[in-house]
């Protein structure tokens, strides 16, 4: 892989200790939020990150942006390690990596004016002040599709979609290289989702951004991503180019997810063979042994219980399509294949 890697995660582990006791807080258990993730993000691409609630994608996002220090493993951004930086270098790092949050209502301080919120990065990094800052903020507002004359308004006076635009404006203020979007459209109405996604894609083209796009809606991820990584219970289950992954998923979990994605046409939906997974997602405090998916997997056997499968290409796939499974899905076992894919997994406009 000689392509330009902007972000490299090597065996990243993030555990949260659970402590008990009044005076001497003893650790009694850990939440294995992220348990050994290795990923690459290339310059200029959009890496989609999917998984159910609790799979660790939000935690991973926060590790990437430096909000959580990792328990072990390494994150390198542009060749430089992300952990253990002094104050000056941390600030420099923050200018390069930014985040767009999920909740348009919670991610903006309701007591501050919008202009002040967007202008925050300029103040924190001491870049622009006074009228110059105001000019830049208004420029950003126009860029994301907001009326710059609303500079002095409060977030409560904007709609959900507009607030998300404010969040985006704040994220791109310092012209970062990488933006992690943590379910940026999950809380929005469907019609608004399209607008925000188009905005993000336009900005990517215009400013040369790289995205890590986290979502649990498969159709959205398919529309925006160049490559997709599927996470389950803190580990990567499968990773590869979008179309390949959606056409020929190799991990049973991906297979099941895709088959369960809703489809508009009721006839097609009725014909569809669905794989219904048994049980709930187990707790990340005590993850299952071996392959974490084995309690719910229809193909599980003793190997799966005993041994964790490595993340590698299967069935002669290209090197970059990897899956972690002892019994990967063969072509004829794919539930939603290339033939149906064009019709069934809806494309985004």
């Amino acid at each position: 892989m000689t392509e330009d890697v902007l972000l490299r995660l090597t065996d990243v582990v993030k555990h949260f200790p659970i402590r008990r006791g009044v005076f001497f807080r003893k650790e009694v258990a850990r939440v294995h939020a992220v348990d050994g993730v290795s990923l690459d993000v290339r310059r200029g691409e959009t890496l989609g990150l999917v998984g159910e609630t609790g799979c660790g994608k939000s935690t991973l996002a926060r590790c990437i942006t430096g909000l959580h220090p990792v328990t072990s493993g390494e994150i390198r951004f542009d060749g430089e390690p992300v952990d253990g930086l002094d104050r000056a270098r941390t600030l420099a790092f923050r200018r390069q990596v930014q985040m767009v949050f999920q909740d348009p209502y919670g991610s903006l301080n309701p007591r501050r004016r919008v202009g002040s919120i967007i202008g925050d990065p300029f103040v924190i990094h001491g870049i622009a002040d006074g009228p110059e800052r105001r000019r830049r903020v208004q420029e950003l507002m126009e860029l994301v599709g907001l009326n710059p004359e609303h500079y002095n308004r409060f977030p409560a006076e904007f709609s959900g979609g507009q607030r998300q635009r404010i969040g985006v404006a704040r994220a791109i203020a310092l012209r970062p290289k990488l933006i992690v979007c943590d379910e940026p459209v999950a809380a929005l109405d469907v019609s608004i989702q399209a607008q925000i996604i188009n905005l993000l894609q336009d900005l990517q083209a215009e400013l040369g951004l790289t995205y890590v796009f986290i979502a649990h809606d498969l159709s959205v991820v398919r529309h925006v991503s160049d490559r997709v990584a599927v996470m389950y219970l803190g580990k990567v289950a499968e990773c590869g180019a979008t179309e390949r992954l959606y056409d020929t998923p190799r991990h049973p979990y991906t297979n099941a997810l895709l088959s369960a994605a809703t489809v508009a046409d009721p006839d097609v939906s009725a014909r569809r063979e669905r794989l219904v997974l048994a049980g709930d997602v187990p707790s990340p405090v005590r993850p299952p042994s071996g392959c974490r998916f084995h309690p719910r997997c229809p193909k599980a056997d003793e190997t799966c219980v005993a041994q964790e499968p490595p993340l590698e290409p299967k069935f002669g796939d290209a090197a970059e399509h990897t899956a972690a499974c002892h019994h990967p899905v063969a072509d004829d076992e794919v539930l939603v294949g290339s033939g149906d894919a064009a019709k069934e997994v809806p494309r985004w406009r």
């Binding site: 005076f23 926060r62 942006t65 430096g66 909000l67 941390t90 600030l91 923050r94 200018r95 930014q98 985040m99 949050f101 999920q102 909740d103 919670g106 991610s107 903006l108 301080n109 309701p110 007591r111 501050r112 004016r113 919008v114 925050d120 990065p121 924190i124 990094h125 004359e149 609303h150 500079y151 002095n152 308004r153 409060f154 409560a156 006076e157 904007f158 709609s159 507009q162 969040g167 704040r170």
Partner: protein, 325 residues
């Protein structure tokens, strides 16, 4: 909802109607609170003008008028043209003394509450924001201060150091900061978990900046409500201390000490009881009503014990026009 508002405001300069402005407008419409505010303003003005009024009458606050001010038995004289509120047993003008007492009460009430608020906010924010050991230690300190019998310890403090104005302010502030700190800590804890704090951190904001720029504006509202309730409590506290002889030293007039002197004479001089007592009651009542109004303006969803006429009228209108429930 926001859309129609935009169109309506277009044309004028687009100024945000933020939470403060809305609260202010709600407060303006609350007639009871406004009335209370007016009363407070009047009291403040009278207190500030006390020396002028004393001069106008020609009666100083500690001046004893044995001849005109007391009967031949040395008892106080009732309200008259000369002494509008009557006199006390030493022939001193009660009106002037009551006004000077207002100065003391207001000064102590506001100063003590201000000190307690500053300390409480700093400690509470620090405990709530940093968590961990810092929080444990500070929370224990708050708990201990809150569970101490305050008047008893005030007794000991005064016994050791002797009563005085600064000591009174210190005692009141010392036993009040913990309630503020507790509230602030709770608010900070919940504010800390909000996404906008995470966002600020991801932008690279320092802890100090996050505390003052992001968290502080969100905790100001409950602090203001608490402070408007604590001022009358501080005033009452001061009057209790002075009543027991532990607060302001005579001859400086304080409503509390005047009332303790009144015990011996109220049978023959009801004005001796009513003047300072009425002033005290009026002041605390006004502050409490204003505090209620401020709390409702800042958080209109809170269930109100004392509904104003405006609300009752609105509610009955809604019912008559066939509204839902």
């Amino acid at each position: 909802m926001a859309m129609t508002e935009t169109r309506a405001i277009e044309g004028r300069s687009i100024e945000g109607r933020g939470p403060w402005r809305l609260a202010w407008e709600r407060l303006r419409r609350d007639r009871v609170a406004l009335g209370a505010a007016v009363v407070i303003v009047v009291i403040v003005v009278l207190a500030l003008a006390a020396p002028l009024i004393a001069d106008w009458f020609g009666h100083g606050p500690a001046q004893q008028f044995r001849k005109e001010g007391t009967t031949e038995f040395g008892l106080p004289v009732g309200p008259s043209g000369e002494f509008w509120f009557g006199t006390d047993n030493l022939g001193r003008d009660l009106l002037v003394r009551t006004l000077y007492g207002a100065r003391v009460s207001l000064l102590v009430g506001v100063a003590a509450t201000l000190c307690a608020t500053v300390i409480g906010v700093v400690v509470g924010m620090t405990a709530g924001y940093f968590g961990g050991k810092v929080d444990s230690v500070l929370s224990r300190a708050m708990d201990v201060v809150l569970s101490m019998p305050y008047l008893l310890l005030a007794l000991v403090l005064v016994a050791v150091f002797g009563p005085s104005l600064p000591l009174t302010i210190f005692v009141i502030a010392f036993f009040t900061w913990a309630s503020i700190a507790r509230v602030v800590r709770g608010q900070t804890l919940s504010a800390r978990e909000r996404e906008y704090v995470e966002a600020a951190r991801s932008l690279g904001a320092s802890d100090r900046r996050i505390m003052f720029v992001d968290i502080l504006p969100n905790i100001v509202a409950p602090v203001i409500v608490l402070a408007t309730v604590l001022i009358p409590l501080a005033i009452v506290f001061e009057s209790v201390l002075s009543f027991l002889g532990l607060g302001i030293v005579p001859p400086t007039p304080s409503w509390g000490s005047m009332l303790s002197e009144a015990i011996a004479f109220y049978r023959v001089a009801w004005w001796y009881l009513i003047a300072p007592g009425g002033a005290l009651l009026l002041t605390t009542l006004a502050f409490n009503l204003l505090g209620d109004g401020v709390r409702d303006a800042l958080d209109p969803r809170a269930e109100r014990l004392f509904a104003t006429r405006r609300n009752r009228r609105r509610r009955s209108l809604r019912r008559r026009s066939g509204g839902g429930r």
